[in-house]
């Protein structure tokens, strides 16, 4: 902290006489830090505009599909878990809070505090993806894929995995497959962190260890999501024994809603919903991954004490991007998970 304060004081002394002396981060084609900041701000807003328009294509496709076949959306939404979706919404909202707080910290030149908040944001992003991995793998186990490969049969329950790691842990093979890359990254970041620590490169070491913590967040989300999923499934199995009549009544109602096509060779194209579901949530997940990379970069710059009251643009701009990712999820959650 003390080093930050001294930089700020030094900067204050030069404030009035020479703007070009402002610091190492003002590019030569800008006259003042304010001009540089405003240009960056306009740039990121224009980028956000392109992002909104980019996603609007998918929202438009969603509206068209739902307009023509609302019954498909009603039938499909029973495969989506509102609790997992809700938890993920809260996780993303919390990451938005810590991000906005990190921007405030950077604006006040509190680099150390900003780095802590950015690390929390990174972990939340990874927790989100971990829960998402549980949701995806559960659907894949039930043969719920995009429309061309959708093959879910009413009442189908996959056999419990018996072989290998999946059998040992009692989780699905799809989830294990989704965890391979994060596990490799976790180990890789840890090793890199230790190597840089040995070579006494503190900033790089801190960066890699933070990224390892971030990947730990993925497993936190995956384990938590899987525990919930197992509990929900066993509850459903028990509920099925006791309230069988009620369940049967519900199914009869559903059949009435989806029409007589359920058993014919023209079943309602429920896979269509999952095409748009996988594309929208998948593209959103890619944005989360992109955000994680950008946040890691911010973390590195915070540990190098780069930010101060007249230079915090990068934190602000990545923050705006991160809030947009949150905004898109704010719309995706009710549109995909909350359909009656």
């Amino acid at each position: 902290m003390s080093s930050v304060d001294t930089t700020a004081e030094v900067h204050d002394e030069h404030h009035d006489d020479d703007h070009h002396d402002h610091g190492e981060f003002i590019a030569h084609h800008f006259d003042t830090p304010e001009q540089q900041y405003d240009s960056g701000k306009l740039g990121i807003w224009v980028f956000l505009v392109t992002e909104v328009l980019f996603f609007s294509g998918l929202f438009c496709a969603y509206v068209l599909l739902r307009y023509h076949q609302p019954e498909v959306f009603v039938a499909a939404s029973e495969h989506l878990d509102k609790v997992l979706g809700g938890i993920n919404t809260i996780v993303l909202l919390f990451s938005s809070l810590t991000m906005a707080w990190a921007v405030r910290a950077a604006q006040l030149g509190q680099n150390r505090f900003a780095s802590r908040l950015i690390l929390i944001t990174m972990v939340c992003a990874a927790v989100f993806l971990g829960v998402k991995a549980v949701e995806y793998s559960h659907k894949w186990d039930l043969n719920i894929y995009v429309a061309s490969h959708y093959n879910y049969i009413e009442g189908y329950h996959p056999d419990a995995p018996s072989e290998g790691l999946a059998g040992a842990l009692g989780v699905s093979q799809s989830l294990i497959n989704l965890c391979v890359l994060p596990a490799i990254l976790l180990v890789g970041f840890l090793v890199a962190g230790v190597i840089y620590r040995v070579r006494e490169s503190q900033a790089m070491s801190a960066l890699y260890l933070a990224m390892a913590v971030m990947m730990g967040g993925f497993f936190l989300g995956a384990v938590g999501g899987q525990i919930y999923q197992n509990a929900a499934e066993s509850a459903a199995a028990h509920g099925g024994d006791h309230g069988h009549d009620a369940a049967a009544g519900e199914h009869a109602e559903e059949a009435a809603v989806t029409g007589p096509d359920t058993t014919s060779k023209y079943p309602p194209p429920i896979g269509m919903f999952f095409s748009i579901y996988y594309i929208m949530t998948g593209l959103h997940a890619f944005h989360v991954i992109g955000g994680m990379v950008a946040l890691s970069w911010l973390y590195y710059r915070c540990t190098r004490n780069h930010f101060r009251p007249d230079y915090y643009g990068p934190v602000d701009f990545v923050g705006l991007y991160w809030h947009l990712v949150d905004l898109i999820w704010i719309y995706l959650f009710p549109l995909l998970y909350l359909i009656n």
Binding site: D12, P33, E34, D38, K41, L42, V46, L48, V49, V52, L53, S56, F59, C60, V63, L64, Y67, H68, Q69, K82, G86, T89, I90, L93, F94, S96, L97, M99, A100, V103, R104, Q107, L108, N143, A147, S148, Y150, N151, I153, K265, Y266, G271, P309, D310, Y312, D316, G319, L320, H323, L324, D326, L327, I330, Y331, F333, P334, L335, L338, I339, N340
Partner: protein, 132 residues
């Protein structure tokens, strides 16, 4: 200038910051966060009521309120320059045009699409197979 001065005053004593720097108070950030969590719970609860046709509109209204407060306070739009606000809002305008015109178009052809004669349907491309 007056707007900037005012923004500073409303955020406590950060008078020594550059004029483009408006830190949002921690209290406001936490208030916004808890409002967002409350609205998330509200949207799930309202969904449980089973309002029928109104469901989607209620959900979209709540989502839009959430989006608005994220934009205003987390994204600092409340203190943003007018030009940036116009740039962003214009994107929403074009999204509305895009989706609105597409819906109008598809409504016009609804009958020929949704009431396609059943006996003229093509063979299904996905055959359900219980064994796979």
């Amino acid at each position: 200038m007056n707007e900037h001065e005012h923004a500073h005053d409303s955020h406590g004593d950060h008078g020594d910051l550059p004029r483009y720097n408006h830190p949002v108070s921690v209290k406001l950030l936490l208030t916004v966060f808890f409002c967002l969590v409350g609205l998330t719970i509200l949207t799930v609860v309202v969904n449980g009521f089973g309002l029928g046709q109104l469901d989607i509109w209620a959900a979209l209204l709540i989502a839009s309120v959430k989006a608005a407060i994220v934009c205003l306070f987390f994204m600092h739009m409340f203190w943003e320059k007018g030009f940036n606000i116009i740039a962003f809002i214009s994107s929403l305008f074009f999204v509305t045009l895009f989706i609105g015109l597409t819906l109008m178009d598809t409504r016009a052809y609804r009958d020929s699409q949704d009431k396609f004669p059943l006996d003229k349907r093509p063979e299904p491309t996905v055959v359900r197979d219980a064994n796979s």
